[in-house]
Symmetry: C2
Subunit: 180 residues, 2 copies
DNA sequence: GAGATTATGTCAGCCATATTGACATATTTT
DNA sequence: AAAATATGTCAATATGGCTGACATAATCTC
C-alpha cells in the first residue's frame, strides 16, 4: 500500500540533480503558482457580496467592468477579452441591459455593430465593485518598495500570452486601440 | 438618450481633484485589476488541454495540486484552502480516488481523519499540469530584474486576506504547519 | 460508559456559467 | 446579387458551485 504513494519531499532533496529526463519536481517559480491561486481567490471574493445584492454573479462583474472602462466596446471585443462564447455572454449581457446598467448603440461607421456603454447606474455599480479591489491592491503595494508597482505590473503583463500581450498593454494603459 | 451614458474618460481628466465625497473613478492600482484578470486568465488556461485528455476540469487540478504538494493533508484542510463545500469537493475527490490519482489513509492519531496522498500516477499528472505554469512564470520573471521574483511573491502574499496570510505563507514555503 | 462533538461521506435538488450546434436578421463588402 | 460579417437566439448539455438533511465512525467530555 505505502509503495504506491508518492513522496514529493524526497524528490526535492537539496542539490539533487535529475539523472534521467527532465526534472518534473518543484522548482523556481512554483511558489508563485500557489500565491497566484490564493491572491486571486481573495481578490475576486471582494465584490461578491455587492453583486449578490443585485442578483448578479462574477460574469456580470467582468462584463460591466470592461464596458465601463472601455466605452464603445463592441460585442466582439468583449468576446475576445473574456474568451467565452457569444451564447454565454448573451444571457449575462441581456440581464445587464434589461437592468439598465448597460446600453447599446449602433455603430456610426458600421451599423451592424452594437457598441456598448455603461449607463450612470452601471458606472456607479462598476465603481462600487472596483473600490474594494483597488483598496486591496493599494494596501498590498503600500508595504512594498516604491518600484514594486512597476515590477508587479511588468510581471503580470509578461504572464499574458505573448500573442496578445501588446493588445492587453494598450487596453490597460488606455492607448486608444486603432481598429482596422 | 446620450445623457444617460456615463463618460469615464471625462472623470479622469489629468490633475482633477474630487470636489465632494470620495473619488470613485479610476486611480492608482487599477491597472493591476485588469492585469490580474488577463494574467490569471492565461495562467489557468495552460493545463486545460491536458485535463481534457483525462476527462477532468479545473476543480480536479486544484485538488490534485494541493494534495500532491502537501501530502497527508486532511479533507478539512482542503476545504479551508479551496473555500468550497464538502459536497462540491466530494464529487471531484471521488473521481480522483476512483481514477487512482489520490489515495486516502486513516490518520494515525485520529482515525476519523482521511489523510490524502497523491499516488505515483497522481504525482505524474500533477507534474505535467505544473510544468506549463512553471514555464510561464519562469519566462515572465526572466525578463525582469533579479529582485522581481521576491517583489512579486511579496505582493501576491500581501493580496491574501490578512487573517490567513501567515497560514498561506507557511504552506507555500513549506514550514511544516503545527496542527493544534 | 453515556452523550456530545467532530471528521467525513452521501443523497437530493437547485443555480450560475460555461459549452456546441443550428439557424435568423441586418448590414456591409465584393 | 451573392458572400461575408456582426449580432442575436433557441435548444441541449456539462461543470462546478450551493443549501439542507441525514448517516457513520471515532474521539472527547462529563
Amino acid at each position: 500500500m505505502a509503495d504506491i504513494i508518492s513522496h514529493p519531499r524526497s524528490r526535492i532533496a537539496a542539490g539533487r540533480e535529475p539523472a534521467d529526463g527532465p526534472d518534473l519536481s518543484h522548482g523556481a517559480g512554483d511558489d508563485i503558482i500557489e500565491l497566484l491561486f490564493f491572491a486571486y481567490r481573495d481578490f475576486i471574493s471582494d465584490p461578491d457580496q455587492i453583486l449578490a445584492d443585485f442578483g448578479f454573479g462574477r460574469a456580470h462583474h467582468r462584463v460591466l467592468h470592461f464596458v465601463d472602462r472601455h466605452p464603445g466596446m463592441r460585442v466582439a471585443d468583449l468576446l475576445d477579452i473574456l474568451k467565452i462564447t457569444k451564447q454565454s455572454l448573451g444571457r449575462v449581457l441581456k440581464q445587464l441591459i434589461d437592468g439598465g446598467f448597460i446600453v447599446q448603440k449602433p455603430g456610426a461607421m458600421d451599423r451592424r455593430e452594437r457598441l456598448l456603454f455603461a449607463t450612470c447606474k452601471g458606472a456607479e455599480l462598476a465603481a462600487r465593485l472596483r473600490e474594494p479591489q483597488s483598496r486591496r491592491i493599494r494596501a498590498a503595494l503600500a508595504g512594498l518598495s516604491p518600484e514594486a508597482h512597476r515590477q508587479v505590473a511588468d510581471f503580470l503583463l509578461a504572464m499574458v500570452n505573448e500573442s496578445e500581450r501588446q493588445d492587453v498593454a494598450d487596453r490597460v494603459y488606455e492607448n486608444e486601440r486603432p481598429r482596422p
